[in-house]
């Protein structure tokens, strides 16, 4: 999952569902797909992780198609406080360090 591609920015309105798609064409068999969220002046925070099909937690859902070359983070009924940068990430190296891309700046409008 070393190289991921996701939109640079997205706008949405309060109460809408937001879907952010990430492309990871070179995903390896043992790679997990992980999403983090970062607010201004804070460190990144784990949202959700998945390997295949669908994963849901109290914050978001993650949809992964059978070929696993992409994934979609779904945020239900966003609010202003969901304005943040969202990263689609993989782990790399023996240290399992996170490999950050540019992320997607989500702006939720009133």
């Amino acid at each position: 999952l070393a190289k991921t591609t996701q939109p640079i920015s997205m706008d949405s309105y309060e109460g809408q569902e937001v879907n952010i798609t990430c492309s990871h064409n070179n995903i390896a068999t043992n790679d997990y797909i992980t999403w983090y969220q970062q607010f201004p002046s804070q460190g990144p925070r784990f949202i959700i992780q998945g390997y295949k099909t669908k994963v849901t937690n109290e914050v978001a859902s993650l949809f992964i198609p059978a070929d696993r070359k992409s994934s979609t983070l779904s945020l239900p009924r966003v609010s202003l406080s969901d304005t943040a940068v969202y990263y689609c990430l993989g782990y790399s190296g023996s240290a399992r360090q996170l490999t950050f891309g540019s992320g997607t700046q989500l702006t939720v409008l009133p």
Partner: protein, 116 residues
């Protein structure tokens, strides 16, 4: 449970000076990571400790950077001498496990370093 803490939150120094950043991981987390974001760039990995041992420092930019982790608890990252290009935000993260599955890394708020 206390999260990852970093000190100071901001540091402004002049080129050539020395700065030491500190990270206190979540208690019991053996894995400690340092990352940084320099101006306009993506967050990049610097190094990784398991307890007190450096496991991977492949991301350290040069020998002006020295990281330590005393007794496997807190960690320090020293920059000596600091250069203008070292300005950025330095993040520390910790995790209890090493692996991909369920390996959530908990990040601190970061230290913003400005070198003038």
């Amino acid at each position: 449970e206390a999260g990852v803490t970093q000190f100071p939150s901001h540091s402004v120094i002049e080129k050539g000076q020395t700065v030491t950043l500190r990270c206190d991981p979540i208690s019991g987390h053996d894995n400690l990571y340092w990352y940084r974001r320099v101006m306009g760039k993506e967050i990049k990995f610097l190094l990784h400790f398991v307890k007190e041992s450096k496991q991977d420092e492949s991301g350290m930019p040069n020998n002006r950077f020295l990281a330590e982790r005393t007794g496997g608890t807190y960690s320090t990252l020293k920059v000596q001498p600091a250069e203008l290009e070292d300005s950025g935000v330095y993040f520390c993260a910790s995790s209890p496990y090493l692996g991909q599955e369920n390996n959530e890394q908990f990040f601190g708020p970061g230290t913003r370093l400005t070198v003038l």
